[in-house]
Structures are given as C-alpha cells and as structure tokens.
C-alpha cells in the first residue's frame, strides 16, 4: 500500500492553510526524524439540538494519530465515537476546536476543498457498508477512483486489483444485495482504499457482521496496518479493539485515556 506523507505539498497543492503550530509527536512516532502525525485533534466540541435538551456529543476532544498507527476508539453507545469520526472525516462541522488532517486544518476549508482533501487522504468504512445498491461491486469501488479524477480504465484496473487483493474478484459483477455481510464490508473497504488514502476511518466495521465476517474484516485491517496504512477504528467491542496497536477510550464526549498496549507489527 503506497502512503502519501508530504503534508506541506498537499497543503500547497490544495491551497489550504497549514496549522498554526506543529503538533506534538504522536504516541508511537519514532522521534524528530519521523513523519508528522496523520491526524491532530484539538479541543473538539459538538452539540446537537434535540427536542428536549441539547445533546453535548463532544466536550473537548484532543487526539493525535501518528503515521502508520492503528488506533481503536472504544466506548459505550452514545459516548460520541461516531460523532468524532464524522468530524474527523469532514462529514459534519464541529462547533469548536480544530482537526488537522494530513497537515491541513479542515475547519477552515470550504465544501469543495474539504471534499478534495477527503478524497485524497481519507477512506471511510461504515457499519452498514453504505454501498450503492444499483452498482456492481466493481462499480462501487471504481466510483471512488472516478470521483477523484481517475480515468475509467485506470479506475477499473485499480478496483479490480483491490477486489482481487480482498478475494472478491469473482464477485466483481455482483450487486451488493447478492453478497454476504462480510463480502459487502470487504467491498466497502476496497472502495475506501481506492484512492490510496493516508487515513482509513472505520465506524464499527464489524458491528453488522457475524463472528466469521468480523474476523475476516479484522484480519484485513491487521494486514493493511502491517503494510503501513494508518487506521482509526471506532468500536465498542474489546475483542475487536484488541487487534489495534493503540486503544483510546471515550465516555460522555471526552477521551479518558490513551492505551498503548498495541505495538506496530
């Protein structure tokens, strides 16, 4: 898996502001000569308006994910994990705080620039896959590459390679409805990897799968991490989180601690 590391170049290419201060080295980083962190979050707050009272989903989150790290974000339902993930991916806007992704502060970006940043640096995997029903597995994967500007032949080639890598080449012409849950999630992971993102964000990727499917997906994440892919995975399962290099716990909208039990493999 080829991973981009030149954040300054990215920022210049996208005409986006660099962070005011260089963030501290991430846990697991190898010292002054190591690449900068993939993700830096500072003081992130988000409140949703509800019928009865506002829901404070995030109450000031600080988090740094280093290059090549596999971080599991754990917490009970309603703790704010998914909200955090969505803010990191730029799928929603924070009320306060900053997210620096690949060296670029996302809160200052407009819709188009944020989209370009996301397509270049972020791959997203969801619990319920969110594949497009009307498209085959191959088309679902290739669509991501096409959106990023790949030529049709290149996008098809890349999609086919990814499906082959994930053991789904024979299913390339099937629509999602004809695939098992595990196969759908693998297609979703292939789609997330289609643009060679620097950061893979996964929101309960095993939550809708049986144990075999979950093991299959977890194994795949481990392989990706071994190849240098940076991964931030949200889960409420300790078993699933156990596969990660580092576990971060969350409750009531704040991070509780930073677990470094996992080492890069």
């Amino acid at each position: 898996m080829q991973v981009s590391t030149s954040h300054e170049a990215t920022a210049r290419a996208m005409d986006v502001p660099l962070p005011d201060a260089v963030p501290e080295a991430a846990p697991g980083a190898d010292g002054p000569g190591a690449p900068p962190p993939e993700l830096v979050v500072r003081g992130l707050r988000k409140t949703y308006e509800a019928e009865t009272a506002p829901v404070r989903a995030l109450r000031g989150v600080d988090l740094t994910v280093g290059h090549g790290e596999f971080v599991a974000l754990m917490g009970p339902s309603g703790s704010g994990k998914s909200t955090l993930l969505h803010l990191l991916a730029g799928l929603d806007r924070a009320d306060e705080g900053s997210v620096t992704l690949a060296g670029v502060r996302t809160e200052e970006l407009g819709g188009a620039r944020l989209a370009r940043l996301r397509r270049r640096h972020v791959g997203l995997v969801f619990q319920f896959f969110h594949l497009i029903d009307h498209m085959s597995a191959l088309e679902n994967v290739a669509l991501a590459a096409l959106v990023a500007g790949a030529k049709p032949a290149e996008a098809t080639e890349r999609a086919r390679d990814l499906l082959d890598t994930l053991g789904l080449l024979e299913k390339q012409g099937e629509r999602p409805a004809a695939l098992s849950g595990g196969q759908r999630q693998r297609v979703a992971i292939a789609r997330a990897l289609a643009n060679r993102p620097t950061l893979l964000l996964a929101d309960e990727p095993t939550g809708a799968l049986d144990s075999d499917g979950a093991a299959e997906v977890l194994d795949l994440f481990t392989r990706l991490h071994r190849d240098g892919q940076t991964i931030l995975m949200v889960t409420h399962s300790a078993d699933v989180a156990g596969g990660a290099q580092r576990i971060v716990r969350m409750r009531d909208g704040v991070l509780l601690d930073a677990d470094t039990s996992g080492e890069p493999s």
Binding site: L146, V147, A155, T156
Partner: protein, 785 residues
Amino acid sequence: MADAFGAIRAVARAELRVGWRATLLMGLVFGLVAGIVLGGIGLAGRTASAYPRLVDAVHLDDARALVAADQPQLAAAVPSLPAVAQARTDQAWIAQIDGPALRFVSIGAPTTEHDGLVEPVIVDGRAPARGAPDEVTLSEPLAQSSGLGIGATLTLRMLTLDQVSMFDVGFGPPAGSTTTVRVVGIARMPAWGGALANVQAGPAFAAKFLPDIVGYAIYARFTAEPDAAQRFGAAFARTAAVVDQISPSVVSQYLPHTVELPSATVDPSVRAAEQVLVGGLIVFVVVLALGGLQVLGQSMLRHHSARGATQRVESALGMRASERTAARALAAVGAAVVSGVLAGGVVLASGWLEPLGSQARFEPAPGFRPVWPLVVLGGIGTALVFVLVVAIAAAVAGRRRAAAVPPVRAAAVNPFRRWPAALLGMRLAMHGRVGRGGVPAVATVVAASLAMAGVVAAVAFGASLQRLVDTPARYGQAADLTIVDAREADIARIVADPRVAALDVGATGTAELADGEPLEVASRDVRKGHMPIAVAGGRMPTGPGEVAIGPRLASGLGLDVGDTIEVRRVQGGTVVLHIVGKAVLSSQNHGGIGDTAVVTPDVMRAIAPGQPLYDAAVLAVPGAADALFAELSQGLEVFQREVPTAVANLADLVTLPELLALVLAVVAGAGLVHALLTAGRRHAREVAVLSVLGATPGQVRATLAVMAATTVLPALVIGVPLGLGAARVLWWQLATATGVAGDLAVPGRLLIVIVPAVLAGALLLSLAPAARAARTPPAVALATG
C-alpha cells in the same frame, strides 16, 4: 380478536399523533383531484348526452318532407303512408325580411294541435300564443346571425309560389302579404333548415296567411319496424311520382321530393365535435386520475417507508402484517372522510358547468344540473380509494422492511463513463425504488411520456384546428361574397370592378354514379383572377376526363387520388373520370363540406341533368369586402362568407386543446416535479455516499442534474413522436368527418422549444435536492437515509 383490535387502535392512534398533518393534507389533495376527476366525468357525461337528450326533449321526428303548396294531395297522403305512426303537417312560407341586405327566411306554423312531435325547446322567452298571429319564435342560428332577440319586430314580405318558381331568373318585389311580427322566444333544435323553418309561428298565423303558403312541412314518426324508413321512403317516392303526373309542381326544381331523416341523420361534425370533447375530457380525467393516484401512492409509500422501523417493532411485538396495515388504514379514515366530502362537493359544484364547446348548443336544460349519484357514490368511492391506497402503501412498506432483499445477479460490468456524475446519475434515475419508497423508474418514464405525448398531441391538434378556423379556403369558403343566381350582366359589371380580385361562376347539380347513387357535382368557371380553393392532395380538374372529389366523399367511397369513378351521362351511358385531386368545397345545396365532386363546366353539362344552381363567388381585394357587400346587396342576393355549422362547431373547440395541453402540462409538470424532488430525497443516501467518497458540491449537483435529465429525456424521446402520431390520427379522423383537408399542422416552434425547455426545467429542479444535499451534512444524511 379483541386484543388485536385494541393493538390496532393503539397503533392507529400513534400513527395519527405522528402523521395526522401529512395524512390530512394528502386527503385534501386527493379529494380535490378526485373531485375534479369525477366532475370531469360528469361533465363528459353531460357533454356526450346533450345531443340525445335534446333529441328526446324536442320529440324529434323520424322523417321530414317539404311539399309544394300546389301539390296538397301529396301532403294529405303522407300521414297515411306505410310505417307512419304519427304525423303532423305545418304550413310553410318564404318571406323577404327588411334589413341592410337582401335576405329571405322560411316560416312554419302548425294548423292544428300536435301531440309530442317536433316541439323545439324554448331556451329564452316563450312559444307564440295560440291566438296571436303576430308572435314568432326564432331559431338560435337565425337569432345569432341576424342579431334579433326577444321583443324585436320583424317585417315579413311573403313570396307567392309563382315568385318562388322564378328564383333563378328574378321576380321583383314580394307579391304576397306583408306583416309585422314580434319575436317572443328563441328556440333550440338539434338542426334547423330544410323543412324545419327558422321562424316558427302559431296556428293563428297559419290561419291568417293561408293564401300565401308556398308549401307544407310534414313531420312523421315511424312505427317500430326495422325497415320503416325504407318502406316510407319508397311509398313517398311512389306517391310523389303519381302526384307529379297528375299535377306537376311549378317549383319542382327547388322542392325535389326528398325525405329528410332527422333522427337517423346526425351532422357528422356534431359527432366529431362530441368525440373530440369527450375524448379530450377522458384524456384529462385519466391523466389526472393516474397522476393523483401516483402522487398519493408515492407519498403514502414514502410516508410509511420512513416509519418502517416502527412496523418492525410492531412485528417483533407480534402484530401481523394485516393488523399493522389495518391500523394504518384506520388512522387514515378521518382524512378519507375529508377527501370524500371534498370530492363530493367539487362534483356538486361541477353541476354548474354547461356541456363543453359546441355541445352547449344542444343542452336542453341549461343551468345547474348536479349528478347526484356521482356526488354521493363518487364521494364514498374517493374515501374508500384513499383508505385502500394508504393500506396498500403501508402493506408494501411493511413488507419491504421485513423481507430480505433478494439477491440479484448483475449484468456484465458496463464500461465506465468518463464522468462519475453521469455514471451514478443515470443509475439513480433508472433505479427508482431499490429498497426504499417510490415507484419504479419505468412507471415514471411511462407516465411522463404519456403526459408529454398528450401535451404535444393536444397542441398539434389545436394548431390544426386553429389553422382550419383561420383559413376559410380550408373549409371551402375561399370567396368573400357569394351572389345567388347572378346574371351575366351583373357578373360582367362585377368583374370590371377593380375591388374584385377574383370571380368564379359556379354551378352545382346532382349527377348519378354508375350504380345509381347520387353525386353532387360542381364546376367552376373562372372569370377573373385566382380563387384559392383548398386542394388537400393533387390538383383541380382541367380536362374532360378529370374530377377532384371532396375529402369526405373520397373517404365515403373509399377512393383516393389516382382512382377513377364512373358517372352516368345525361344522354345515356357512363363516363369514367380520373380523380386528380381532393378539393375542399362547401356545398351550395346543403352547406356540407367536402361532399362535392368538382369537374369542368363541359363535364358538368354532360353528367348533371336539370337546371343547376348558379352562383358567383367573389374574392375582394384586401379590405374591400365589406364595401363591396354593402353595394352589391342593394340589388342582388349576396351572402358574405359564413362559417359552416360544421366548422362553427369546431371553432368552439379551439380553446379546448389548448386548455387540455395546459392542464396536461401542469399535471405532467407537477408529476415530474414531484418525481424529481422525491427521487432526490430517496437517493439522499447515495448522494451522501458520493460526498463521503470525496465528491465536490459541483459533482453532487452534476449527478443530480444527470439524474433529472435521464428521467425526462425518455419522456421527450418517446412522448414527442407519440404525440404527433396521435394528433395525426385524431386530426385525420376529424377532418375526414368534417370534409376538410386532413394534413396536420405540426407546431414546429413548440417542438423546437419544448425539448430544451423541459430539459432546462428538469435541470433547474435538480438544484433543489442539490441545495438540500449541500445543507445536510453527509453524516446526517447517512444516518437518516
């Protein structure tokens, strides 16, 4: 069972709490649409039944004949002829009326009481009093053309029978009695003219002016035998022949022994107009009904699909699908009642609507005329349909959520388009309802195509109708003025007038085909300029073996340009005439269009026995027609161009296709707006996924624009040619029935404008879901989509 009903009621209450506004709104919309649909059905019924109801109301006769006053024995014999169940004999007069132009009218009056046979409906005023010789009613057409109304006085200068016999040579001032009468009523009949006089007087008039009568108008009702008309016709012809031998009439050339069959003969233009009106209304009703059902169904499906999770919970609690459906149907009962009441109210109000277009002239009972069964049953039916649609939508939504999506074997991978927006946009447009609410894409395309076809057909039909009405030559009225029985000296003087652009002397007579069928023939002797007679195909005859026949005649005989007809010669034997064209002429005998065969004057003399009717057709230079008419009508019987009844009937319809096109366009537009907006909502998740993949707002807008364009393009590609084809068929049928040219006026400008306009509209509409997508964070759309 009681437990189940309790659960149903509880769920219904919950449904009402959450969705009563939406359900009530849909009830109101559906009630309004259903009311318009049912009102349209009622109006179609009133329009279609106007003519037969008038026939019943006036006790229309089966047979009618005009007999000359010098053959009273023939008039006296008619009531006792075979197949006559009832008969009535009126006296008839012809009188010149005072006015700016020379004009003659026929007058009829009964001598005795007549029970239930030919009683015109009085639409304004009253019938003449029995003892009042100075009171008359006018036919509606005469009242309209003369401008005479109730209370107007009319000086009648009656002709003698001898003067009538000199119509073709001139007879000086009227020599009969002169009287002044007062118009006391305006009368309505299915048709006027022939034996039925446009001025109707009472028995006192008949008694007072008995010496001046020129004929007898005899009306008869047949017995119920199937061959009554044939038996009566044969007996009348035999009797007339005998009477002719004993005492020939001096006006035999003007009063041939012909029998009219009013109840069996309906003016084809009336039928054509009725078909167009009722057909248009049916299209309107069907489109509106389908549109209403689609909108209701789609909305309800979406409404219940959005609450699919609730149904899953109810299912987990043990409620069966039928119970869940029943609960939702129960919750919709209130809205259904509202929709039924509203629909019934609209139908009731539609009782004020008179029959459409020309058919209003046949309404025997103008004014408020509600169709109570339609009001009551329509209201109940609307409520039931509303509940049914809600129940079906709830059942479908419940099943969709409960059942697993069946695996679908995908087709081979299609080559990707260069543009991801095109790839996804087209896919979304072509897949209307996978997993979520909404109708199949094919249904949207079919509905939009039909609506587009309807709009194009209505506009093309309307354009053809407008062109016909605006172009007198197309209905055989190329001349501005027609001078009856013009003499050569007058013709020479008129030809010399510089205000005259063209003048033809026409002759009209009756020839016989080889099989004995009568054939009205006419010839045109060009004296000056060029008279723009409409030729629907081919050309006018120029030689002795050529004929151009009218479109209706051609249709009736099954002939076309290039065929031949065999006609009897006056001197014996037959002559074969080659059909070289289809000429549209208006008959000088009966005003019909397209029934006449046009030949050269030489052929006319060879095949038409007896004295033809001569007329001079005058085309004035632009702007001179009125002055010429005013001058010529001082001494000659001159008629200005008159729109034939058939065309007048059609002229009343001119706005109908435009109205229909407008309604169809509104319905189609509303349907398309609804389809595109709901499609945008339905595919909000896919659009959010596209954003997740890094699509820019521009790419999202493009995707939705492609989806909108892909939805409407098939409608244009299919609908436009389909509409033109339908219009061509419909116009050809109407034109053939009317006797005018059947070529369709293709609305080129509309066709040039409609495609980009519809596409532009669709693209504009796609901005709404795009704006919503831009407003809604993808995270929210994914969570709720």
